[in-house]
């Protein structure tokens, strides 16, 4: 074995600092992050060691592990020193992307290209963005409309997931909410590409959206993706975009409590709920989605053994959705087992990434006849 010099590499450290990645300095190497990280259930991922390498300026930028973190924030939540591991991983990736010191996975390169070209990860044309709502009597957002409904790219373009955006629109219509949507002028919120290290792509997506929202006179935005929720709430303000942002599961609660949504049917099903990381650990929103579910007549809510703060990620955050995860290493497969264990026949989600990953897990494990993956919006739509 070659003895590594433990002298910090000043250049890398400087670059890390330049992109704001010096937060690793606080780490006291307790290893809680490694122990918490769900990757270590399926394969080894020595997070603590990586942070220590960063501290010493000895990061191996060719190491595939830099692309491993799913940004679920479980480690950050527990970290005794407040080390923002997810931000550090993002910044390390930035070093790779922007300084070109390592290899960016092909799948991510393609996605970044799509973002840059058409403002969505799927490479779909901008013009067809509003098409999902064609037959639903949804108006275009104009000044004075109370709410902008902003579905995520997957919910607008992916034919199998569009049903969520449609359910949301139907519900809002039913509750007589004054809302509209925007089309070709808006783009992806940019959350996943930022965490994948392409800061400039994120910046241009975000600025484009902020401009479009501002031009249209938007104040209040209802979203159906926790990723949009997090980005609009936490990351747009630093670029000057300040909007009131509500996730649909929160808003549904409000509509139900105010009596604007009335249940006319029952849903006599056992349901379990997947905490999306971006709603739960990122925003502390654990109760609202559950309250919405519990208010549905007949519905029995069962919890998986890991839930709320300790919930297990589906594996789709931080750009991982676009990268291939080997069979046997997919968190959504583990999580689906937990869901099945509860005896629930529905796994309710509030996030398009969770939905995609779980749909996939159901398919590959051939459990389609035992459990369905449904967004909370769909379940509510069914009973009103």
């Amino acid at each position: 074995m070659v003895v590594q010099t433990v002298s910090p590499s000043p250049e890398t450290l400087d670059f890390m600092k330049e992109v704001g990645g010096e937060k690793f300095e606080l780490c006291y190497q307790c290893g809680l992050c490694t122990g918490t990280c769900p990757w270590n259930r399926v394969r080894s991922f020595m997070l603590r060691k990586l942070i220590h390498q960063a501290q010493l300026g000895l990061v191996d930028f060719e190491d595939e592990d830099l692309w491993t973190c799913v940004g679920c924030k479980a480690c950050v939540d527990r970290c005794p020193r407040g080390v923002e591991v997810v931000d550090i991983m993002r910044d390390l990736r930035r070093v790779i992307v922007e300084a070109g010191v390592g290899k960016v996975p092909d799948s991510l390169r393609l996605v970044a290209k799509n973002f840059a070209a058409v403002g969505n990860p799927l490479g779909e044309p901008r013009e067809t963005r509003p098409d999902w709502a064609k037959d639903l009597g949804v108006k275009t957002y104009t000044k004075g409309t109370e709410i902008l409904y902003f579905p995520c790219c997957i919910q607008t373009y992916d034919p199998s997931i569009q049903r969520v955006a449609r359910a949301a629109a139907n519900i809002l219509n039913k509750a007589d909410v004054d809302f509209g949507i925007l089309g070709a002028e808006v783009s992806c919120c940019g959350e996943s590409i930022r965490k994948s290290g392409s800061e400039s792509v994120f910046q241009s997506l975000a600025r484009n959206n902020i401009e479009a929202f501002t031009k249209a006179g938007v104040n209040k935005i209802v979203v159906t993706s926790p990723h949009c929720y997090h980005t609009f709430m936490q990351e747009y303000p630093e670029l000057g975009g300040n909007f009131e942002v509500i996730h649909l599961s929160q808003y549904l609660n409000e509509l139900i409590n105010e009596g604007r949504l009335k249940f006319t049917k029952e849903l006599n099903k056992k349901v379990t709920y997947q905490d999306s990381c971006c709603l739960g650990r990122y925003a502390g929103m654990y109760d609202e989605p559950r309250q919405t579910l519990k208010s549905i007549p007949g519905l029995e809510l069962l919890e998986m053994w890991e839930y709320r703060e300790n919930s297990l990620c589906c594996g789709g955050c931080a750009g991982r959705l676009w990268m291939e995860t080997k069979k046997g290493e997919r968190f959504s497969d583990l999580r689906l087992e937990q869901a099945l264990e509860t005896g629930a026949s529905i796994l309710a989600v509030a996030c398009p990434y969770c939905m995609l990953n779980f749909e996939d897990s159901v398919l590959t494990s051939d459990k389609g006849d035992v459990i369905e993956i449904r967004d909370i919006a769909e379940l509510v739509q069914e009973v009103i």
Binding site: Y28, G31, L32, T34, K49, P80, G82
Partner: protein, 654 residues
């Protein structure tokens, strides 16, 4: 002004410190030309005896009635020169110091500028001293009685030290017995002394001491007054047992049919509705817990009364409120043990065999719930035990500080476990902090006893087995950071080394005694290094864990230090009061009470019937906050009057 003002000005060279930069002779000549200056001189070291004598001689010979020394910071030598002028017969407050060293020669390179600045500072001092008034330094007697609040080892130690010198101590303890946390322990690190063996003699001594008035089951409700002269109102809660009759025979507890969770055993055992918390309680007088006593709940039973041969049970007893006069107060209210329930991943409250350190102390204790047998909930002996360090400590989600005793008590547990069982012991630590005398040696000794040390903060305790070996076990998961691998350690029992935290009512206690809390909730000492037992309120001292987490040796040392400070005040018998205090002109006071709120020493009170505020001169430290804030200009800060300050400014600008 009574007589004509005659000022003497003295410029100090301070060796080369001032003279190398400032042209001393120029300053002297300048001073000579100032109004009311009768004489101006220079000298190498004004603080030396010849320097002081020069001032004294002039006062006598030239009839000076004011003096200015231009030299170093008043923090250095103001007392020196005040004493000198006083010895020559003028009031010490008719003196002013100009700081031409720290404020001038040390910080100004240019000689001309430095000389100019020195002149202005001298001019300011001369103008100011013109308006100085003689002030009286008052002395007030110190009441030799002491109040100690909290009867843990800190309070016990301080009480005994003071009482042994034959001064009266009122020791107030909230619980039915003194002893605090220490009496709950089995052994104490690093010497493994039996806790009760070393503590009960002290407890008994407190109970029997002619100079200690022990008030248990009591709380302080109000404090008024100031150093040397406090008044405390103490509520002695009704025990429903007449202390003068009770013989501590214990029959009442035997016969009482009603049970509740024992607080002393942390709910691991039951006690009766009439109880003493533990066998060696001091005083050994039971209390009746109204929440569980059938007589208080339903009006029947009275079994204890029937069996008490001396007729000590008194259901009619009421709380007593007692007022005592004291000169000093020592706060020794200790700590709370951190509740690990919020750290959901450790499963406390969810898994039977995840216990806290304090619970484990009781489990180890020969008179504890398991008679000292280290057993699981189902009474079987554990084959393996994991000890998790830093639970709630060194963790900014809970407490950022290190609790300082956990590494050591964790090691203590290793020993106790090895001594009494065949169990494997795992220490899951981040850093071993064994800093005290004999602590590293203890660590070494324990390393030889076959304990496994794993470096890594535990991520999770789960009962979800993934293989046969893990079935029915608690699996402790995390990273072994030294190996750089994740680990799953199946064990039967998990001990959480919980943090020490500030008492949940520390805020109220701080307010009651006018002391401050740090961000971590513990009481703040006057100076973290040089005055770790005094507080910002004179006459009130802190000792033990109420000031911060610490072990018993440090607690005892601090308690003794606090006792010494109190004894020093008692032996001196009097305290000097700051003379430069604030006074409120009641004619001008609008009663807005802004000053009351701002005063950091709670020295200003509002006189309801006159609707004005008034300064308690004994509490006033002369900080000037109130005078600056008073919107009606009703507050004069003696020695810092508007006249004096304006004159000083004029002098600088002249």
């Amino acid at each position: 002004m009574e007589d004509k003002v005659r000022i003497g000005v003295y410029i100090c060279h301070c060796g080369a410190n001032i003279a190398d930069t400032v042209d001393i002779q120029q300053v002297v000549d300048f001073a000579k030309g100032l109004d009311s200056v009768v004489v101006a001189r220079e000298y190498k070291f004004m603080c030396s005896d010849p320097g002081q004598n020069m001032i004294k001689e002039d006062i006598k010979q030239l009839g000076l009635n004011r003096a200015v020394v231009a030299s170093c910071s008043p923090l250095m030598h103001e007392p020196t020169f005040r004493r000198a002028v006083q010895e020559a017969g003028i009031n010490p407050y008719l003196f002013e110091m100009a700081n031409i060293r720290e404020h001038c020669s040390w910080v100004t390179e240019d000689h001309e500028k430095a000389t100019e600045k020195a002149k202005r500072l001298v001019s300011a001092a001369v103008k100011r001293v013109y308006y100085h008034q003689p002030l009286e330094i008052r002395e007030i007697p110190v009441n030799p009685n002491t109040l100690i609040v909290g009867g843990g080892i800190a309070g016990i130690q301080a009480a005994l030290e003071i009482a042994d010198s034959e001064h009266k101590v009122y020791l107030v303890e909230r619980d039915p017995s003194i002893g605090g946390h220490m009496i709950q322990f089995d052994k104490t690190f690093p010497t493994l002394d039996c806790s009760a063996c070393i503590l009960t003699p002290k407890m008994t001594a407190v109970g029997a001491h002619p100079y200690i008035e022990l008030m248990t089951y009591s709380e302080v409700e109000e404090i008024s007054g100031f150093i040397g002269n406090f008044k405390a109102r103490i509520r002695k809660k009704a025990r429903f047992v007449d202390e003068s009759k009770c013989t501590s025979c214990g029959v009442c507890q035997e016969k009482c049919p009603w049970k509740a969770d024992s607080e002393f055993d942390l709910g691991l055992s039951k006690r009766k509705a009439i109880y003493t918390p533990f066998a060696q309680a001091v005083p050994n007088i039971p209390v009746i817990d109204k929440e569980y006593c059938a007589y208080f709940l339903k009006g029947t039973c009275r079994a204890c009364e029937k069996f008490c041969e001396v007729g000590a049970i008194d259901f009619e007893q009421v709380d007593q409120v007692i007022e005592v006069d004291i000169g000093n107060i020592i706060i020794t209210t200790g700590y709370d043990a951190f509740d690990p329930t919020p750290i959901t991943q450790y499963g406390y409250g969810r898994f039977d065999n995840v216990v806290t350190g304090l619970e484990f102390e009781r489990i180890c204790n020969a008179v504890g719930p398991t008679s000292g047998k280290i057993v699981l909930k189902d009474s079987s002996e554990p084959k393996s035990i994991a000890i998790i360090h830093c639970v709630g400590s060194r963790d900014e989600n809970y407490h950022e500080y290190c609790s300082r005793v956990c590494c050591m008590y964790a090691l203590k547990y290793s020993h106790l476990i090895k001594e009494r069982t065949d169990a494997e012991v795992y220490q899951m630590y981040i850093d071993m902090r064994c800093f005290g005398k004999g602590y590293e040696e203890f660590y070494k000794r324990l390393s030889e006893e076959g304990v496994t040390f794993i470096r890594g903060k535990v991520a999770e305790v789960t009962d979800r087995a993934i293989n046969e070996d893990e079935k029915g076990k608690l699996i402790v998961c995390g990273e072994d950071t030294l190996l750089g691998t994740t680990m799953r350690v199946p064990v039967d029992m998990v001990i959480l080394c919980i943090a020490l935290e500030a008492r949940s009512d520390a805020k109220e206690v701080a307010k009651l005694f006018s002391i401050s809390q740090g961000a971590d909730g513990f009481f703040i000492e006057r100076h973290p290094k040089l005055d770790p037992v005094a507080t910002m309120t004179d006459g009130i001292f802190v000792a033990g864990c109420c000031q911060g987490p610490k072990d018993i040796p440090d607690t005892v040392a601090q308690a003794s230090a606090a006792a010494t400070r109190v004894l020093a005040l008692i032996s001196k018998g009097k305290v000097e009061m700051e003379a430069a205090t604030a006074v409120i002109d009641e004619e001008k006071c609008s009663g807005c009470q802004i000053c009351n709120l701002l005063c950091p020493y709670s020295a200003i009170s509002f006189i309801e019937d006159k609707e004005v505020s008034r300064v308690n001169e004994a509490l006033c430290k002369g900080c000037g906050t109130c005078a600056a804030a008073c919107p009606s200009g009703a507050i004069t800060h003696k020695h810092f009057t508007t006249e004096e300050i304006m004159a000083e400014i004029e002098g600088v600008l002249a």
